[in-house]
Amino acid sequence: MSVSTPPAASVRLDRLERIWKESPGLLGWLTTVDHKRIGILYFFTSLFFFGAGGVEALLIRTQLIGPNQSTLDPATFNEMMSTHGTTMIFFFVVPMSLGAFGNYLIPLMIGARDMAFPRLNALSYWIYLCAGTFLYVGVFSGNAPGAGWFNYVPLASKAYSPGPGIDFYALSLLFVGISTTLGAINAIVTIFKLRAPGMSLNRMPLFCFAFLAVSFALIFALPALSTALILLELERLLGFHFFIPAAGGAPILWQNLFWIFGHPEVYIIILPAFGIATSIIPTFVRRRMVAFPLVALAEILVAFLGFGVWAHHMFAVGLASATAIYFAAASLVIVIPSGIQLFAWITTIVTGTPRFKTPLLWIIGFIVLFILGGLSGVTFAAIPFDQQTTDTYYVVAHFHYVIFGAAVFPLLGGMYYWFPKVSGRMYYERWGQVSFWLTFVGTNITFFPMHILGLDGMPRRDYTYSPEMGWTGLNLIETLGAYLLALGLLSVFANLAVSLFRGERAGNDPWEGDTLEWSTTSPPPEYNYPVIPKVSSPYAMWDEEDREEDARNLERGRKTLEGGHETPASTAVDAEWDEILEMPSNSAWPPLVALAMTGVFAMVLLQQWVGAAIFVAILLATVGGFHLKEPEEA
């Protein structure tokens, strides 16, 4: 806090400091329930998986650098390809956006002192860590899954994938699914209950709308995947029949279940990016978002409509044409909300007075790439065109534009944007801009030629190709592009890493930001806000008089809740002050519960049913322990 703090206030700050202090050192990190620390844990873990997925990607590209290469043998290629997709989707993007960004920022943006269920929050993280480790134990023990990230049966059935690779895949995804579900629930309750009194829904930042939509989408999408995975494991481990025609099963059943989850998932991946864009743009163009209500509506619509289009991934399986046509139409409808948001961003930028700092550059890069990727997505909705391009590199191009370009760019932009808040220091601006251009150019060199290759008939998931096909040149370019891209990303993280120690001090609000988090210190104290902030618009930070009132309240000791480990809870819609909740502090149970779960999954994998039963008992015990002390959360 700045030097000019009046005495009365600093006394209060010390008191809050003492009440909220977490236990120090490593133990503190293991038992933390502070959403900011958990967010940071999520950040580094998912960054690590990004690295892993990236290395796999580079191996893929190296194998494809020229015809008939033998960097990877066919088996290893398929494993790298499958693990790359699985890692990036389930262990990088989603945890990075919901786990790291959501966790760190939602409570700050709504003026709360923590998530609604701090220990559940920790539990989500530890489960995620264990699940990721679980998958990579498989990878490093030579049992990586090799049936693609959507793991179609019968290829993934025991008969054609006898090894445990697929079991590692299925179980780790079931496992991480638990974590994601808990995380989503936590986010929703936090947003409904813990908004600072006065922040009625229509005063909530769009960022939070995006995360609200995502969390609901997850709640209803994940069970479809879980069902599919459970059935698959029943078939693989216990000899049930769901997917093998011989015994009355149906291969297409898997595809339906997977994509009922899978398409919502892609919007789950993109929506947080939208949210980040809608919080970076206003700050840097110095004006409020155009068409705020439309954008909020669009964010929710995207998540909702996403459930009605899954079969557009299955246009070649021989659907009845009526069915196919319905899904094509639905896929076109979903363009509208995307279009709304897109033009809302563009108009905001055009009508504002932009400062082209690194974060905004990433967002503009995102807009460009999202349009390209989105448009190629729309072309699929023309069924005949899809039936030509499906399972070619044209699809790979589409989804890397929308996933890497549109979903990951804002994450990177967000890293720069909130870096001062999280670390208390500034990154190097020039360096940041250079890294952006490296990555942006690299991205297009890597993924644009894939459109052409796809239209030229190159199937995806081919471990090699023959020189006669004439695909050599473009593949070479793509691979070089990928190296450039990797270089760009490394310089991004190098910049942040160096700035962490050398960067100059940032102060509370280096950007003249629009949302609440900029009103507290950088990095924020354990209790986030000494005073429960006053909120009268979605751009709370731009309402100076409110912030001044907060300062006065601090001196007078109003709305400081310095009596205990407390945060206010308000009514769901109008956010009137409803009750005062006591927040739990450090707990060892979350990691223990996660470990017990790991035991269960490991035993199932090894088909040690007795062992599994024992670990279920242990799990129950730990869950009991979790609920021993009351009141913790309610």
């Binding site: 069902t227 769901f242 015994a247 009355g248 059943l253 002050w577 005062i580």
Partner: protein
């Protein structure tokens, strides 16, 4: 704002009742469980959808000459489980009204009924297992998968009952009242799921 209740400190019938009356939005715990139930409902929906997806791929159902399930007992038992919602409901009412003992006994009653239900159900399932196995074909597989999932939910519910009985035996707090209410909520969901599951299970005979 000093009027705002510190709900979590509320202990003993009186204060708990006040807090409960004054709270305008459901407690966080309630929201959490409501969302858990939302995912669970979706899970059952997917399983039941799977059942009918498999069913409508063949003319013969049940497959492989497995005889149709017998109707009476499963329906009877389900009715029994659904009935256990009544003591559950009354128990919550009593607890809100501060009649902790009554709440405890009603909860016990519900739990006993639910436990008996599970016992009988498992007994039925064992009978089925003697006549056809889940490995027999897709029908057997989805049949048992569906029922077992349901049983798992009942078992979890019983665990929650047990824990609650133990807690309530030591008097009531705001936290325990919320726990009791969400437990009841959970059981209502399990009852509804039970109906959906049993109707699917008996579908060939209906």
């Amino acid at each position: 704002m000093s009027s705002v209740p510190r709900s979590m400190e509320a202990e003993g019938p009186g204060p708990v009742e006040v807090v409960d009356r004054e709270r305008r939005t459901q407690a966080s715990g309630w929201w959490g469980v409501a969302l858990v139930i939302a995912t669970e409902v979706t899970l059952f929906a997917c399983l039941i959808a799977t059942y009918f997806y498999l069913r409508f791929r063949t003319s013969e159902w049940p497959l492989g000459g497995i005889e149709k399930p017998s109707v009476t007992l499963p329906l009877l038992f389900t009715a029994m489980l659904v009935a256990s919602s009544i003591p559950m409901f009354l128990s919550v009412r009593a607890a809100k009204g501060g009649a902790v003992r009554a709440a405890w006994w009603l909860l016990l009653l519900a739990a006993v009924v639910q436990a008996t239900y599970l016992g009988l159900q498992i007994h039925l399932m064992v009978d089925d297992l003697n006549s056809f196995s889940p490995q027999a074909n897709a029908y057997g597989s989805i049949y048992y998968a569906l029922i077992a999932t349901h049983h798992a939910h009942v078992a979890i519910g019983l665990a929650i009952d047990a824990w609650l009985l133990w807690k309530l035996a030591h008097g009531i707090t705001n936290y325990r009242l919320i726990a009791l209410r969400v437990a009841a909520f959970y059981w209502y969901f399990v009852s509804v799921a039970a109906i959906a599951v049993v109707l699917t299970q008996l579908y060939p005979s209906l």
